[in-house]
Structure formats: structure tokens, C-alpha cells
């Protein structure tokens, strides 16, 4: 549905070329809920904005529905944008226009006959649960409600693609849930393809089918959402996942520990008594559990433990680790990431 082919975007910054998106190759399938994660400045927004040409690639191509859209202008560009809805971190509603007029704007953009506009606007507001707020101005709405208005506007012309740039990042947890629920609801009703940027791992877990991880303009990892969380391949993905432990564990605890490891249980070994095996067979190694949880990503359980390994014998610690690595995904928990968070 969307295909990036060596897509590159560079800006002139301080007189020098700065590459924000670096030869990205990526294909997003029809109907997918596709996520892009990455730290700030990784180039996520810039990449996504090339899909509807808010940002023109410096080189490379972008295909939508098999068609090269890279050089579209004028009416062709308008036609492309009509089939791509977009929502933003800060909602970007016209604040001096009512909720109704904000949604009606998108319908006017597609030259919808006047007689049909009212009915369609109310239908869209009903879809996002805001039918009774049609005649208020955006400033009297909560963040979550504003974003739902923006969603109604984005869906007005029955787009095939919905682009979401940090759509929940400016919202508190309750409003985030509300917007996530609205998107899930829409996704279950319409076969729309969603491309969603976020740096909130909680949101990523609950929404995405597949995820691309971006770092310094490059896509460094693409995998199913479950696999990215279960065994992240790239340093960038590991950093993001480590960061999501931030706040869960007190800093002091982490600072005291030398050998922290994050263990993710492979599905087939999820029920092996791994920990008790280690304590039985490596008596000189003290294993303590710092944190742990089980969550469900794409309806599959994902168990995770943060452990520390202490002991006087390096060799013992290493062989305990080797054993753990056979049974689970193990990676060193990088304290720097937390310290800098």
C-alpha cells in the first residue's frame, strides 16, 4: 500500500547538508496497523510526511497503491491527499471554527455537494462519539476530544490510509486510552491502512501489527510488534524498551546493581523453571529479581524479568548467563539509558 524506495530527505542546516531520512526501504501492506518508533530526531515525522508530500523526498521514491507519487503536483497531489487522512500531535484544528466546520472543511476540500455535507459531518462525529459537541469551538474540548475531532476530519473522505504523527503523545493516560480505543474501533470497522508514529511503547504494544524502528534517519529494524518487544535486534529498539522501564524502578536500585539483565522468555520456554535451575546449579551466583511482568502483545503473552547477577566468580556468572541465553532472550540492561532518560 505504501512503499518507500531509497527514500531520502536532507535539509540544509547551518550551511551543511543534514540527512534526516537516509535511504529508507520499507513496505507497508494494505490494511496493516504499522508503527514507526524511534527516539526524538530519528526522522520519523519527516519520513511519514513524504507519504502525502508535506515533505518532498530529496531523492528516492514513494509509492502509494503501486503508483509513484514522488513528483505529483496540482490536482494530482490533491487527489492523492484526499485518500490519505492525517492526524497530528497537537491536533491542528482551526480554533476559530466550530467542531462541525472543522470536519466540514475536509468535505469541502473534496467538493462534496452542499446537501450531503451536514449529514456526513454528523455521521463522522457520531463515529468518534462527539455528535453532541458539533457546535462548540475546539478550545472547550479536552485533548482527547480534540484528537477525536481531528480523526473525524481525517476520515471525512473515506481515505485508504491514515497517517498519525505522535497522535497520543500530547495526551494524559486517560485521553490516550480514549484515542487508542477510537482508533481500534475504526480499524475494526474499516479496512484502512494506518501508519502511526510514536515513542510511547505502551501505545505501540496495544496497537501495532508490525513495527519499524528508526535511528538517525535509518530504519534499523522491521518486525512484528511481538518480536520487536520480545527480542529487539537493534540497539535503538533495546534502548526504547529499556526506557519504558523508566519510572517503574527507582533510580537508586539500578545504580546499586552491576550486572543487570533483561530476560524475555521465549514462547516455547515460557513455563520452564529457568530461575530455580540457575539457583540450583550455580550456587556461587546470586540471582535476584528486580522487576518483572507479563503482558500481552498481539494476544500473545510476553514475560519479562529484570534480574541482577552477583557473585565472586566471573566464570560462574558467565556460564549462568550462557544457560539463560539458551532458554530466553537476554540482553544487558544498559544503565546509561536510564541515567540519560
Amino acid at each position: 500500500m505504501i512503499r518507500f524506495e531509497d527514500t531520502t530527505v536532507s535539509f540544509i542546516r547551518d550551511g551543511k547538508d543534514f540527512i534526516a531520512v537516509d535511504k529508507v526501504n520499507l513496505e507497508i501492506k494494505k490494511g496493516e496497523f504499522f508503527g514507526i518508533v524511534g527516539s526524538s530526531g530519528a526522522g520519523k515525522s519527516t519520513l511519514v510526511r513524504t507519504v502525502n508530500l508535506l515533505q518532498k523526498p530529496t531523492s528516492g521514491k514513494v509509492f502509494v497503491d503501486g503508483k509513484d507519487v514522488t513528483d505529483l503536483t496540482g490536482n494530482d497531489l490533491s487527489a492523492l491527499r484526499l485518500k490519505i487522512g492525517m492526524i497530528f500531535q497537537h491536533f491542528n484544528l482551526v480554533k476559530n471554527a466550530t467542531v462541525f466546520d472543522n470536519v466540514a472543511f475536509a468535505l469541502k476540500a473534496s467538493n462534496t455537494p452542499k446537501a450531503e455535507i451536514e449529514g456526513r459531518v454528523l455521521e463522522l462525529l457520531d463515529l468518534v462519539g462527539l455528535k453532541d459537541r458539533a457546535h462548540v469551538y475546539p478550545n472547550s474540548l479536552s485533548g482527547g476530544q480534540k484528537q477525536r475531532v481531528a480523526i473525524a476530519r481525517a476520515l471525512a473522505n473515506n481515505p485508504e490510509i491514515l497517517l498519525c504523527d505522535e497522535a497520543t503523545s500530547a495526551l494524559d493516560p486517560d485521553n490516550t486510552k480514549e484515542v487508542v480505543q477510537t482508533l481500534k474501533n475504526i480499524k475494526s470497522k474499516y479496512p484502512i491502512t494506518v501508519l502511526f508514529i510514536t515513542h510511547q511503547m505502551e501505545v505501540a504494544k496495544s496497537l501495532f501489527d508490525r513495527v519499524a524502528v528508526m535511528s538517525q534517519g535509518k530504519v534499523v529494524e522491521v518486525n512484528s510488534c511481538y518480536d520487536v518487544f520480545a527480542h529487539p535486534e537493534s540497539q535503538a529498539a533495546r534502548n526504547l524498551i529499556n526506557k519504558s522501564f523508566e519510572g517503574v524502578i527507582p533510580k537508586e536500585v539500578i545504580e546499586h546493581e552491576q550486572n543487570l539483565y533483561l530476560i524475555t522468555f521465549k514462547e516455547e520456554n515460557a513455563y520452564d523453571p529457568v530461575i530455580s535451575y540457575v539457583s540450583r546449579n550455580y550456587p556461587l551466583v546470586d540471582l535476584s529479581i528486580i522487576a518483572g511482568n507479563i503482558e500481552y502483545i498481539q494476544q500473545k503473552p510476553l514475560g519479562r524479568l529484570l534480574i541482577s547477577l552477583r557473585g565472586t566468580d566471573e566464570g560462574d556468572i558467565n556460564s549462568a548467563l550462557e544457560y539463560l541465553k539458551q532458554k530466553a532472550f537476554v540482553h544487558k540492561f544498559d544503565r546509561e539509558v536510564i541515567a540519560n532518560a
Binding site: A79, M86, N92, V94, N96, A109, A150, N157, L163
Partner: protein, 224 residues
């Protein structure tokens, strides 16, 4: 003594007031309506030609901006003199309220154009981007986004322009335009008719206050 002053003031007002008000009204009506139309047009032109998302035309933009800055840097009283030949060519006379309206139109237009441009530049880029992303054409974005979002600012700019015009029209009056300002100068200043001076000041203050009040009221109605 006091009654004599009042008596003389009333006599002068009887003869001159209606004519003065009429002349000021002519000057304001012509220059305000002209600058409203062309100030908006040039303000939008400045904005649209500087913006990549619309009709980016750097050279045209620089030319308009330079002309506007050039006119704005000429003190008004000099502009009046400077434009006299042009005024004569245009209206066939160099005196009277219609002639005085020519430099007023020019000054007010460039003044308002800048204020309109500033209001447009303050419109949230993200909102414009969201409008572009819907596939809307430029004309729809101008009407339903730019105008709507910048409306309170534009109305405030129009108010300031109108108030400045009152001041400038008094100056233009001195050099042959007539009007309330001229009344104050001719009688209040040259003939020491303090009563006339005070009376005109009161009238001007009332007009300015009223203009400001109406302007603020509309601006407030338009912003949410």
C-alpha cells in the same frame, strides 16, 4: 470673560463645524475603504508569496516589501507634498478632502498590509499543514483557514489603521484637506480660540474611543 469665549466658540462652530465634519468624513471614507481592500490584498500577497506551501515568489515578494518599506519610511507630511503632482494628475486639484485622500490611501494601505501580513504569519503552521493534508486547494485554505484564524488580528490591525487615519487626516487637513483637524489648527492655534481646540480634541477622542471599542468587540467575537 468665560461667556465671551463660549460665545465666540459657538459662533465659529455654527459656521464651520458641519463643513469640517463633512470633510473629515470624506477623507476617512475614501482612504479607509481603499486601504481596507488594498491593504488586505497586499497583506495576503506578501504572505502568500513568501510561503512555500502557497505561491512562493521570492522576487515579487521582495519587490512588494521594498516598496512598502520605502513608503513607510517617508514621514506623512512629506508624503503629502511628494505626491502632490500625482494627486493633481489623478483628481485635477491639489486641495480639498478628495485630494487629501490620495496620500491617506497610500499610507493606510501599506500600513494595513504589514499588519495583515503579521496576523497571517501568526497563524499556526500546523493548522495550515493539516489543511493542506486534506487535499484542499489554496483558495479554500485562504478562505476557511487563513482568514478565519487571522481574523481577530486583522480586525485589530484595521482598527489601528482607522485610528491612525484620524490622526493623519488631521495633518492632511492642514495642507489643504480641510476637516476637523484643520478647524483646530486654523482657529485653535492661529487665532487662539482655545474653546475650538478643546472641542475638537474632545470630538477626536470620542471617535478614537468608539473605533477602539468597536474594533475590540468584533475581534473578540471572532476569536475562540
Amino acid at each position: 470673560m468665560l461667556s465671551e469665549v463660549i460665545q465666540s466658540t459657538l459662533t465659529i462652530l455654527q459656521h464651520e463645524l458641519l463643513k469640517s465634519i463633512y470633510e473629515t468624513a470624506i477623507m476617512l471614507a475614501i482612504s479607509f475603504s481603499f486601504s481596507l481592500v488594498f491593504g488586505l490584498i497586499f497583506g495576503f500577497l506578501l504572505y502568500l508569496t513568501s510561503n512555500k506551501a502557497f505561491f512562493e515568489k521570492p522576487i515579487l515578494n521582495k519587490v512588494i516589501a521594498a516598496v512598502i518599506n520605502f513608503i513607510r519610511s517617508i514621514p506623512f507630511i512629506i508624503l503629502v507634498v511628494f505626491t502632490l503632482p500625482f494627486t493633481f494628475l489623478l483628481v485635477g486639484t491639489k486641495i480639498g478632502p478628495v485630494a487629501a485622500s490620495v496620500p491617506l490611501c497610500i499610507t493606510a494601505t501599506v500600513f494595513l498590509a504589514r499588519l495583515v501580513e503579521i496576523s497571517l504569519k501568526e497563524v499556526d503552521k500546523g493548522v495550515i499543514e493539516a489543511a493542506l493534508a486534506t487535499g484542499a486547494n489554496t483558495s479554500l485554505i485562504i478562505r476557511k483557514v487563513l482568514l478565519v484564524e487571522a481574523a481577530p488580528g486583522i480586525v485589530r490591525g484595521v482598527t489601528v489603521t482607522f485610528i491612525s487615519l484620524i490622526g493623519f487626516s488631521a495633518m492632511a487637513g492642514m495642507v489643504g484637506g480641510g476637516g476637523i483637524g484643520n478647524l483646530a489648527v486654523q482657529y485653535g492655534y492661529y487665532r487662539y480660540e482655545t474653546g475650538i481646540m478643546i472641542f475638537t480634541i474632545v470630538i477626536l477622542v470620542i471617535i478614537v474611543q468608539l473605533a477602539q471599542f468597536i474594533g475590540d468587540f468584533i475581534a473578540k467575537k471572532l476569536s475562540h
